[in-house]
């Protein structure tokens, strides 16, 4: 559910980035001090829990120390060694490609499901509200709970999916979904898609509701069938929202932790070792805080560049 709010938040950011003077007159308003006072609690918390940690992360990334004591960390010598080590490690590049496959695979499937459910929920039919609540429900399920449900469904000997595949004659032997290094990435995509598709449903449903009914009426008078109506009216109207949703979902999946940690922890043989999981394992399994921090800083640079690029792109689109 976080990513939905995040979208709201970044949508807000785009709004803030727009020039505001046009709407609200000269900038220094009365009550300026009051405005800043209201912002103070949030700013203090975020400063202490975001800026300070980021600076600390940057410092640790240049130090050769093992875990823990902040005083010791600050005393150690500076070195570029961690960055050199991380960048020359093939495992880093492997993780990056795993992250890419994981994001692309889960986003495409979740988008398809989200579009299908949004198109159905956008039309009027009996008990629509009930279905809307039910279809969006996986959104509220904790990630860990979704994961254990799929661990059980995909269990090799007693899992219901293998039973269904055997019954339908699609498999002759048991498939070890999470244990087989060729299938593990597909296996972690199951819970990911299940928990993320409602996000696409919500975003696309909101977009669909902005399309005027008259467009469809006019099109059907002109003899356009359903497929043509989708191609000419629906898709062009929701395309922008679809791209925004895909970008935000990609960012959410990029930092995903719960599904992989609770099922494969990055294995087997690194098959599900995404960047987010690799940072965690380096820090808390291998206790190599310095390398984890260096990888963290590199990740931060990638994310920051993507976000800035995206916000600029969105502002350009809006100005058109």
């Amino acid at each position: 559910m976080t990513r939905v709010a995040e979208t709201a938040a970044l949508g807000g950011a785009a709004a803030l980035a727009r020039p505001v003077r046009a709407r609200h007159g000269a900038t220094p308003q009365e009550g300026y001090g009051f405005a800043l006072a209201l912002l103070a609690p949030s700013s203090a918390l975020i400063g202490a829990l975001l800026l300070v940690p980021l600076v600390l992360l940057l410092i640790i990334s240049f130090k050769s120390v093992k875990l823990g004591n902040i005083a010791l960390i600050l005393k150690a010598d500076f070195t570029w060694g961690n960055y050199f080590r991380v960048l020359s490690d093939p495992a880093t590049w492997h993780s990056l490609s795993i992250s890419g496959t994981y994001i692309a695979g889960s986003s495409i499937i979740a988008f398809g499901l989200g579009l299908a459910t949004a198109l159905i929920l956008n039309e009027k039919f009996p008990a629509q509200r009930l279905f809307r609540t039910l279809i969006l429900l996986p959104w509220a399920v904790p990630g860990i709970t979704a994961t254990i449900a799929f661990l059980w469904i995909l269990q090799p000997s007693f899992g219901v999916l293998n039973f269904l595949l055997r019954t339908l004659g699609l498999a002759t032997q048991d498939i070890n979904w999470f244990g087989d290094s060729r299938l593990a990435l597909a296996a972690v995509i199951f819970p990911t898609v299940w928990k993320t598709y409602p996000f696409f449903t919500i975003m696309l449903l909101a977009a669909l509701q902005t399309i005027p009914r008259e467009l469809y009426e006019a099109a059907s008078i002109d003899g356009a069938n359903r497929r043509r109506q989708f191609q000419w009216i629906t898709w062009p109207s929701i395309r922008r929202y679809a791209i925004v949703a895909l970008v935000f979902n990609a960012m959410y999946v990029f930092r995903e932790f719960d599904f992989i940690y609770a099922s494969t922890k990055g294995g087997p043989q690194g098959a599900t070792d995404t960047i987010a999981i690799r940072i965690y394992n380096l820090a808390f399994e291998a206790f190599d805080m310095a390398a984890a921090s260096a990888l963290g800083v590199l990740t931060f640079v990638i994310v920051a560049i993507s976000v800035l690029g995206f916000v600029r792109w969105q502002m350009k689109v809006e100005q058109r």
């Binding site: 807000g12 912002l39 918390l45 159905i120 059980w152 902005t210």
Partner: protein, 281 residues
Amino acid sequence: MTAAAESRLASTLRLFLAGLLTVLLLFPVYWMAQTSILPTSSILSRNPDLLPKIADINLSAFETLVRQYPVARWFLNSAMITVGSALLSTLCATLAGYSLSRFKSRTASGIAFVLLLGRVLPGTLLVLPYFVLFRWAGILDTHTAVILANASMIIPFATFMMKNYFDDVPRELDEAAKVDGCSAMTALWFVVLPIARPGMAATVAFAATASWVDLLFARTLLLSAENWTVPVGIASLIGEVQTSWNQLMAAGVLSVLPVFAVYWFAQPYLVGGMTSGAVKG
């Protein structure tokens, strides 16, 4: 076929399709629930029944789970962290959201932007400096640590949710209150906040859900088992009761009950509030 009959057919078809999709998509929840009410002997079958046999149904998995593991303790810990995070986040987000809605300035835009940029970082990246900092501050392995970590994750989103609600409250209202002699603070407290109450309810619901489901921060910042939350407890069960699938599923069922309750009541506000933020942009 007449137009009316045609539209009735289309609507029935949609109902059928929606029903089919719902059944398919909710299957994991159903399968978890039905496993939790069956004895081990009947779930460890190569050919499971898709509908449970009535005679087999019992709650012994729940009983064993609660007897063998400190489930009540996990719920209490989760509840305390959830309430703490929700209150702290909603308080900060309401004040900041009002400020961003009513007063525009470069400073405010700057603060907002920094806040957002940081929030797209992987949580696994932030939990690392948190671990070091909280140990240094002496609050590692306390609920306070997790409440702070959760709040830092929730406040930025919640702030923009609240900003959107305040944007919909006409500014003439608080201006009129000020003309009538209210100070900025009393205008906010007596005039604006009562109107923004649904928005605050949605924010509380969002914040509570987000901290209830958190695994990463609780798993990393809570070291002793008596401080664990529900998700951490469930994660610890995975290795331990590899064969007791019905107990694991029972834990899963228990973990979703509170979220479903919140979701059921707050769903219209949540969906409406969040999409308006995204689409109005």
